[in-house]
Symmetry: C2
Subunit: 412 residues, 2 copies
């Protein structure tokens, strides 16, 4: 891939994605692939003002071997130095990049139950630090090609060719392939903000989803104090610092009312969960809780997913993406949530975004939960968009407004 | 490279290199290259009994950017969580692999003085943990090809071809290219032990080095209680655990008397120090201390090297390697100490090996220092072997024995 384009992309992540503040620390979480790009990204973070850029390497083949060979006790450990590190991050609030290049099948074959129990135990230690950091630092999820991921997306191509093609697609979908990606994102963020403004002017209390082609027939309550969000968001306490938590992003989303969802939704794309692909599945909700799940592939993983903790079976996000999103139009199934979620309306099971509450910075995590924001160690998006999807919004005064029609925005 | 050969090599490192004890933790320090081999090595470590295998990634381009962009204060920091990690390791004594694939020129152009001062400050925190761990855990330095390293060794070859050729050479020099590498190492360790037994039977007190072709004219005192070591060594407190700290190794070595060296030595190979190549250099000693250094290339780095701390200008190792070592016979200059030191007689400036003292486990680090073992944050080997090198040993009773003649063992 052309080095100038890669440098533009790195700068986009550092400035539009994170908007690094002078002297702020930066953490980059990444697989050990694309080291040339990582080098560019580190430099762009420093140039943007970082005082320190550290890398936290993830390596899925090692994780799979750990799960296979370690005792459950060892696998569940959070060592004292690891907890000290969490504490340091909760205190210093580094801007954080997550570079996704994961093999969508990377953990296939593991002992799901063992891994789930270990994650649950570890989360008991980790959660207080997560809660402490919530909404207080800039983060950005972006992607770089990985060999196994490229092979999954383009099985017919030689690996190197597939990698190159995936780079092209990532940059295109991320609006980073033009001359001035940061300018393009300014315009894109403005467009998403206009959508949000319209939705927020309606004062919605409920969304009703219907699609005959898939069978989806579902409705979900919204929190009175919620806002629809999309594009860049502000960092509380720093008026001038807005950041983009996802590159790419095409969605407008909110956090729904915990415990208020009824009906059934059908997936229209595979879900990559914990290194496994869950395919052709449905989720039926009663009183806000997923009470029945079915999947043609990896149903067991789906069942594990919704039983990780109390909130894992409840909703944390409703996101609206029109059928003609540029990512959908690429015609590619990415097997990566970052991309696939931006090609389709989706819901998320698990943790909600308290940042969707009006004046969210006033609320503690506990207060946000009380207002109806779901809590969980998970946040798993799954795609339910369809060309005939209708979404009707019910306003505070009972009036109904067509939000989506035939899978697309009904207005604007 | 053939996967079976790579797996054999991984097994060799896990079993012959580290000799992992059941339930022991393992740490692998590596650059983010050769991830396929790293995966094999992790698995072989687990199969050999490891309870946990963790990876500490090094990434030299990031280090270079850190040195360039961070303030000296930030660069000098050892954070509390990092110190907790050192403490954990000093308590649990994990078996440690260091996979070398460094770019020999990777830090060229940095601000040497800034980097040296930062390392000195960091070492103040790190040293007590290093001292606590000394001689109490198994470690093994081995190599895997890196792209920039391969390009340096084979500048005329396309990178992929150079990488493949470097793999072949690494496996050959490491006696890991045959059907049964672990058997080959058993025999190799026995041979090295026979050399040590002969040298130790002589009760040597001084070595006198001379080479007309290079100009080397130098002598160094030995510690009365010292032993020559080579090949595998024992882990104190675990009679049945012997490990090989270097793969490959061809040397028989000891730790000389601190403060007792006179004369001049001339390098016969470049020295890769801190990501820079120091070339065609000489070191003149007075009363055991390097008082004058000259180098055709990177003299400044050499001067920095010997001034890192008090012990950095004094000797920590005398190693004997015959001119016809298999690594020398490969005809390749590796620009990597692990290989080049095993192609040539060498000395090391800096920290000595207290494990060369008879019954070394009886001595604290301080007691070992008192007996004459040098202390430093550095340990930098440099090569002085030559085809006409003569080494004469002076025994306790004053008798002189020819140890090396014409660059080779004089006996056996």
């Amino acid at each position: 891939m052309d080095i100038k384009k890669l440098r533009n992309y790195a700068e986009l992540i550092a400035k539009t994605g994170l908007n690094i503040m002078p002297g702020q620390e930066v953490v980059i979480r990444t697989e050990p692939e694309q080291t040339e790009f990582i080098e560019l990204l580190i430099e762009e973070c420093y140039k943007a003002g970082a005082s320190n850029v550290s890398i936290e390497w993830r390596f899925m083949p090692a994780t799979k071997l750990d799960i296979t060979y370690q005792s459950e006790e060892k696998l569940s450990e959070v060592l004292k130095w690891q907890e000290e590190k969490l504490k340091y991050k909760a205190e210093t609030l580094p801007a954080s990049v997550y570079l996704d290049s994961d093999d969508p099948d990377g953990l296939t074959g593991i002992d799901n139950a063992k891994w789930a129990r270990a994650q649950q135990k570890r989360y008991e230690i980790i959660k207080p630090y997560n809660d402490k950091m919530e909404n207080r630092y800039q983060w950005c999820v972006a992607a770089v090609p990985g060999k196994k991921w490229a092979k999954k997306v383009f099985p017919e191509l030689p690996v190197e060719e597939g990698m190159e093609k995936l780079w092209e697609l990532i940059l295109k979908c991320s609006r980073a392939d033009g001359e001035a990606p940061m300018e393009a994102w300014k315009e894109h963020n403005d467009n998403l903000r206009r959508r949000c403004d319209w939705l927020n002017s309606l004062n919605l209390r409920r969304l009703i989803y219907k699609s005959e082609s898939t069978g989806t027939d579902f409705n979900v309550g919204l929190i009175p104090d919620m806002l629809f969000c999309g594009g860049d968001e502000e960092l509380p306490g720093h008026d001038d610092v807005r950041f983009n938590a996802n590159i790419p992003t095409e969605e407008v989303f909110t956090t729904p009312m915990r415990g208020d969802a009824e009906g059934i939704v059908y997936s229209t794309m595979p879900l990559s969960y914990n290194g496994m692909l869950i395919e052709n599945f449905s989720v039926r909700f009663e009183k806000g809780r997923a009470v029945e799940v079915k999947a043609e592939k990896n149903e067991e993983a789906l069942k594990t997913m919704i039983s990780m903790d109390e909130g894992a079976a409840m909703l944390g996000e409703c996101a609206l993406v029109p059928w003609e999103s540029p990512i959908r139009e690429s015609g590619v199934l990415f097997y990566s949530t970052l991309f696939d979620e931006n090609a389709s309306c989706h819901l998320a099971l698990g943790r909600g975004y308290s940042s969707c509450l009006k004046e969210f910075w006033k609320y503690s995590p506990e207060e946000a939960r009380e207002k109806g924001v779901n809590d969980s160690m998970n946040h798993e998006d799954f795609m339910i968009g369809a060309p005939d999807l209708s979404i009707i919004g019910v306003c505070e005064d009972g009036k109904q407004v067509q939000i989506f029609k035939d899978g697309r925005w009904a207005e604007m």
